[in-house]
Symmetry: C2
Subunit: 435 residues, 2 copies
């Protein structure tokens, strides 16, 4: 019964999954619903910003020639003929010796070519008229915001695949995208398998545990930008599982199952993939946790067979499912960002395979550090709740010390172009390490 | 007309806002709706994890005493009397010389006290029975996961104020939280003021711009964890604005307005606060952008008067509104996390006040670096879309060089306990700097 499987590297497993990526279709949705979605098309400026010459502050629009001789000793006096607020247009023609009081954002009166801000003027009421005195000259263009100085018509402002957050929404609104072209979310079906699983509202009974993977994966699917459809729990029964998987495949863009991928007597997913005629991309990876993560392909759709162990399930999604989702969403940076950083404490466990350690990062003195969470067993169940990174240490090593440089996968960042590369053993440590 | 205002420090402004923080009430919602919400109560383990002794791998449950003499030369043979999968219980009593085939997650048969994994056993069919051969002894407890070894009943697993993400959901499901105690979201009303504002679906006309602040702020409100109610645009008309603000205050927990807080003729918010009898906490801050950010308090509710300039509006929300929201959500880390990092390029602008520069961070060789975005004017409008951090440089400085150490506010992180402190000028630079 015990089946031999060939473990492949993490980077090879990622590569095999990425061969079955596709890009989602585009749909138009209201800007009010666009938050958190991904742009389906690049956003190109269809007009200049500003779209007209305007004042960037409260002051007076003047004709610069009028101010040429102004000095503290010989101030120039101009008649204020009108006050214009942002959104309104000057109604009167401005002649030599005249000025217009204008508020921030107001379009420049046609005849004016400079702005004298409030702080540089004295206002005087005389002869039933309002005057300003200027004690310095202003040059043509002084303090004016010119049409197109921020953005020119035709500029590419945002690339397809950009996640729509607050700053992106501001750009979309500025350019009149009341309807936004976004990528349709991929629909990811989820089954949790295991006779030991109780629903979250069921009382504990001996031998059983509550199903936490389904809720966790649903949230990971959402956070990656996809739609999750949870189809429920399945007992370890071949026929039930086979029918469920078979009948769900045509309703989803990809299917995640949790559990049932190891070599136990009731781990039916391998047999199910076989009966379906699916192409198994891999069924063992040289990594911990999650070595039994299995991915298969049927008619171009991926079946992600994640481990039933919560941490392995979590890591499997982040490494293999997430980049598939991001590519579907037109991102060219689909991979979890990984950086170099420093371990804050010893990690004495030997690492027969590449190990992903649930960790929390911090920034001290300009450097990135990572602290493993759940080092003592009492925190295993909550370690995922406190992690925002995975420290990756190479296989074939005996342990790591505080201060060692390690690879860190940042779970909260949008992504990177480069897929994770399995770390190599540090040469300097080799003498202490396993073969 | 020109009004003198007294600028206060950023840290002082934050302090004044925080005096009017309150904590939101708790409501119970279905775990399916809990993603992105904030825990209203600490989560305490109400049972041990595991809740029973179990096998963490596929193998055979044995009585350790039976294996004491096992060696490669003299293997011990045990009769396999039953196979049990996870979620099921052993049905037969295990006697000396017997073993049970058990799958990962299965509860230990009562009489057994060690696990021999598949890889360490030979299976033999003989006399119509199934036997295993063990070539090594197993000690009491070998490879068993014991009740409570991950988490003990009574352990505090998650603090109130924790944002509910995938790992947190897993803990909630494990402990049977089908209904989750979360903090009711604060309701934040939004008005965009300005006669120059067009709706996002309106055609551009001279002198007008599309309203982008409302959409941006709505998204920032959501991202902070609050509910946004957008009440629409208001022209620069005192009575209209006054009525709108007055009539909205009792429907919301806080009210944001954008625009109308400077010293222009049609900047009515200061007068509105006065007529309302509101207590103005500050109306000028020694910062750029956003120096005119004004916050007032009326009957314990805050009125955030953010600037109409998009970047200033953005920064004002992040610095002053966000920590108020986070505190409402019971977080004890309400402030945007700020860290030391290195500037990647020159920032030659003089900084009369503390300046917040829209920036993008990256991690190179274990260090945090920040690159200002929108340095050239052509990117002003999109700089917010490309920023994930604000670099803060102290007032009274003439500019910064690539390689200088600066404070960086990380916009994408959950928060920190310490409010932002206005940076001091670097002593080494003082000779070159303005007073």
């Amino acid at each position: 019964m015990f089946e031999e499987r060939t473990a492949i590297k993490v980077s090879e497993a990622i590569k095999r999954v990425m061969q079955f990526c596709k890009k989602g279709e585009i749909e138009y949705i209201n800007i009010d619903d666009a938050e958190g979605r991904y742009l389906g098309k690049a956003v190109v400026a269809d007009h200049n910003i500003p779209s007209f010459d305007r004042t960037p502050l409260d002051g007076f629009a003047v004709i610069s020639e009028d101010t040429a001789s102004a000095s503290p000793e010989n101030p120039v006096r101009l008649e204020v003929i009108e006050t214009v607020g942002a959104g309104n247009l000057a109604k009167r023609e401005v002649k030599a010796g005249q000025a217009v009081r204008v508020m921030t954002g107001t379009m420049m009166p046609e005849e004016c070519d400079a702005i004298a801000m409030f702080e540089l003027t004295n206002e005087i009421e005389e002869d039933g008229k309002t005057w300003i005195e200027l004690k310095r000259p202003f040059k043509k263009g002084d303090f004016v915001s010119f049409e197109g100085e921020e953005t020119k018509k035709g500029d590419v402002l945002l690339e397809a695949g950009t996640k729509i957050h607050a700053g992106v929404i501001a750009v979309l609104a500025t350019f009149g995208y009341s309807e936004v072209p976004v990528v349709k979310k991929p629909v990811i079906g989820i089954y949790a398998t295991g006779t030991e699983l109780l629903e979250v509202d069921e009382e504990l009974v001996p031998g059983k545990i509550r199903n936490s993977n389904a809720y966790m994966i649903k949230t990971q699917v959402h956070q990656a930008g996809a739609e999750a459809v949870y189809y429920g729990q399945l007992a370890d029964d071949f026929d039930q599982c086979y029918d469920a998987v078979k009948n769900t495949l045509d309703k989803v863009d990809a299917l995640i199952t949790t559990g049932g991928v190891s070599v136990g007597d009731f781990d039916y997913l391998p047999e199910i993939y076989q009966k379906l005629g699916a192409n198994v991309l891999f069924n063992k990876i040289a990594m911990r946790p999650g070595s039994v993560t299995t991915v298969a392909e049927k008619d171009g759709k991926l079946l992600f067979g994640l481990s039933g162990n919560p941490s392995a399930c979590f890591v499997g999604f982040e490494l293999y499912t997430r980049p598939w989702v991001k590519t579907f969403l037109h991102s060219d940076k689909p991979f979890t960002e990984w950086v170099k950083g420093t371990l804050t404490e010893d990690f004495p466990k030997p690492n027969p395979f590449t190990r992903f350690i649930r960790s929390k990062i911090s920034f001290e003195g300009g450097k990135i550090t990572a602290s493993p969470v759940g080092m003592d067993k009492s925190q295993v169940v909550t370690s995922l709740a406190h992690s925002d990174a995975l420290v990756a240490v190479p296989g074939g090593t005996r342990g790591y010390k505080a201060g060692d440089e390690v690879d860190i996968l940042l779970l909260f960042r949008e992504g990177t172009k480069d897929p994770f590369k399995d770390p190599e053993k540090l040469r300097v440590k080799k003498s202490n390490d396993d073969a």
